[in-house]
């Protein structure tokens, strides 16, 4: 290959790459939910976050350029129980005056044994950053796409639940996180 052709083909490649490899950018549409499920006294309870922001770039065919960046307003957690909702923002749990937001950002995507897509990323919650893997189900539709993610974390890894509230025989350590986002093209 002579230098000119090589230079041209590199240029062509450079021009073509962004077109083929960039994942689509989406914004979060109405009806999207982000929530969690815990266990209290042996019974599951479900919570949702009233306010969160998500920047989603996703293309199932180009996982390497896909990215999730989600910020959650922890003070907006609602679990259907007044006492619990009052307790969650306090220093006993989220301590929202010190740590108002949780942040999740992906570092990459992989596929598990079943071929399902897994988002690998870091969650910063209550001042602690730990890896969190989320199973990804992505369904394109005429108006955009529907993205569902689920994962499990241990609340005590993040120091959520201090003092007595570390007792996992009353409040389970494992917390399921889930999101269902209606994605609209940006």
């Amino acid at each position: 290959m002579n230098p000119t052709i090589r230079r041209l083909s590199l240029l062509g490649l450079a021009l073509a790459l962004p077109l083929t490899a960039a994942a689509a950018d989406y914004q979060v549409g109405p009806g999207s939910t982000l929530g969690f499920s815990g266990k209290f006294q042996g019974q599951q309870f479900d919570g949702i976050f009233g306010k969160f922001d998500a920047t989603i770039s996703y293309d199932p065919a180009n996982l390497s350029t896909s990215k999730f960046d989600v910020t959650v307003d922890l003070a907006t957690a609602k679990t259907g129980d007044g006492d619990r909702d009052k307790a969650l923002p306090t220093p006993d749990f989220f301590d929202t005056s010190k740590f108002p937001k949780a942040h999740y950002v992906t570092t990459g995507f992989s596929k598990d044994a079943k071929g399902d897509v897994v988002a690998n990323g870091n969650l910063t919650l209550h001042g602690v950053t730990k890896p969190l893997a989320l199973k990804v189900v992505f369904n394109p539709n005429p108006g955009g796409a529907r993205l569902s993610v689920t994962g499990t974390l241990k609340r005590l890894d993040f120091g959520v639940g201090s003092g007595d509230y570390k007792d996992t025989s009353t409040i389970a350590d494992e917390v399921l996180v889930n999101g269902t986002l209606n994605l609209l093209p940006k």
């Binding site: 209290f40 006294q41 042996g42 019974q43 129980d81 307790a87 007595d164 509230y165 025989s169 009353t170």
Partner: protein, 194 residues
């Protein structure tokens, strides 16, 4: 140790039911009074859970006791005026009713408030009623007032037993006491009749 009651004495089984339940009911009532004053904490939550588990135990014991009552013999009433015997049985009826109604009202209150119900951290029990904030407050009051009512009925129950013991000097109380021996013997052991 006697498994079955005889005409002079309640059996060990009946005595165990009677005194265990008496202890659990009064103990759980006093416990509730104490735990209610605790500051909100996980400790308080766990104490409430303990109170509920004890209450459920009383409820379960009550049904076992009814079952036992159906198959066991009963010593006859000690002699007393007819109205007193009617009153004594009415008081027993009320106590039985309250022993069921108090745990059930607590369970209903728990359900109406939307709390889980876990038996000694072992397994969960279903809700009795749908979640309903307004009902929850009412049922909480019903639960508490029923207990005060039980104490009132208990005064009659204990008063009656003491009257028989001190005034009539009969075996009514003695035959239910844990290690009590009846003064009087009966047809089962005629040789000991004075």
């Amino acid at each position: 140790m006697s498994l079955r009651s005889d005409p002079t004495r309640w059996s060990t089984v009946v005595k165990t039911f009677h005194w265990t339940m008496a202890l659990l009911i009064l103990g759980n009532g006093a416990f509730a009074y104490w735990m209610d004053g605790l500051k909100p904490s996980l400790h308080k939550i766990n104490m409430f859970a303990l109170h509920k588990s004890i209450g459920l135990t009383v409820l379960a014991l009550f049904f076992l006791r009814l079952l036992w009552r159906a198959i066991d013999r009963r010593p006859p009433d000690e002699p007393a005026p007819g109205w007193q015997r009617v009153a004594a049985h009415a008081v027993h009826g009320f106590l039985y009713l309250l022993i069921v109604a108090i745990p059930l009202s607590g369970w209903a209150f728990n359900s109406a408030h939307g709390y889980p119900l876990q038996y000694f951290k072992l397994f969960n029990l279903p809700a009795l009623v749908e979640k309903n904030e307004a009902w929850s407050d009412t049922l909480a009051n019903v639960h508490i007032y029923l207990f005060w009512f039980l104490l009132l009925v208990l005064v009659a129950h204990v008063g009656g037993a003491l009257k028989h013991h001190v005034v009539d000097r009969d075996d009514t109380l003695r035959r239910m006491l844990p290690f009590g021996r009846a003064k009087r013997s009966t047809s089962t052991s005629p040789g000991e009749t004075p």
